[in-house]
Point group: C2
Chain length 210, copies 2
């Protein structure tokens, strides 16, 4: 059955395993499109333009917002982040799902956008906050004061868990990956997603030979 594309929102505090889960989901279903955000923040080591982010200066970013090219945007730690709108709409019409790695602000704005009815939102919780801090420190990307700020942001992020359709406590990455796949597979079976159902049922009930 033909279907419309989903907007799959995956949110979690940093270090809860969200990026790994997103990558595994993309490996499982190569038709999934990862939404690349635009940002005004500087690239971190190894980050590639158009792959991890579209790096834009504040003036370019402002123009994109002004011209309605952003599905959502927000300011975090003095930098701007946003989701370019056109690629999401193109994927939806082609029946492809888009995966969004966004924080609660991004999630709220995508849900509130014109595409909100196509959203499936999933929040990934860490098994504990201590574990989260351990992972952030092990990553060795940030200075202690940045880690402290990130832990505060993590608490803020977690406080929004109840806005999401699904919640996964990521105790085991294999089990959490399976849970994500299951959620996507089930959501694709929802009546409203299967765009060909109406005509199919009409044809079914018009059958002459029955």
């Amino acid at each position: 059955m033909e279907r419309s594309g989903l907007l799959v929102i995956l949110s979690s505090p940093s270090g809860a395993g969200k990026s790994t889960l997103a990558r595994r989901l993309m490996d499982w279903d190569p038709s999934l499109r990862f939404s690349v955000s635009a940002t005004t923040r500087a690239p971190r080591p190894g980050e590639v333009e158009g792959d991890h982010y579209y790096f834009r200066d504040p003036e370019q970013f402002r123009i994109m917002v002004r011209d309605g090219q952003m599905l959502e945007h927000a300011e975090v730690f003095g930098n701007f982040y946003g989701t370019p709108r056109a690629p999401v709409e193109e994927a939806m019409l082609a029946g492809r799902d888009t995966l969004f790695d966004v924080d609660w602000q991004g999630g709220q704005q995508i849900r509130a956008s014109v595409l909100g009815t196509h959203v499936v939102s999933i929040f990934v919780l860490p098994p504990s906050l201590a574990e989260l801090e351990r992972r952030l420190i092990a990553r060795q990307q940030d200075r202690p004061e940045v880690i402290a700020a990130r832990m505060q942001k993590s608490r803020d992020e977690i406080s929004h868990w109840a806005e999401y359709d699904y919640v996964i406590v990521n105790e085991d990455i294999e089990a959490s990956t399976e849970a994500l796949k299951t959620i996507l597979t089930a959501e694709r079976l929802r009546r409203g997603r299967q765009v060909g159902l109406g005509p199919f049922v009409q044809a079914l009930m018009r059958e002459e030979n029955a």
Copy 2:
């Protein structure tokens, strides 16, 4: 994570494979409870009291309805059918899902009942009406005029497909069984089902060492 039980409504026209799917789902998850309906119709060959139905005379049935013991009830072909309420509530509180094999009238009433927010409803469509008639004839349980009446009831039933959360076109019983399992597994991950999440997140955010 502890969770509350679901009310899983499975509806379809007769012959679309619903009973087979229900049985396979029960085999897959023995904790699933099958809701046994009460009815005033006479037992068919092989039907067992308390297993297929609770067979009740019209006066007994009327008293059950009057005393609020029925979650829903309806009249079909001059017979009454209804769902006893207490076992459903007990299962829910114990975190067990109940599977309902009911028609659209039953589905509507369960959805409209006090337990309606716990409902997940799935409609099973046949690939064609001709195939449906063929299966009804092959079953050799009914006379031609009963089959004609059942086909009319099938059309009525199908006309209510759009009231369900999920729709499965049962072209292949294996694939449809997998789809059902996936829907149940995903629905159990919904935020609102996981009753322990609130306290878990509160404890998470109170962690001292993070």
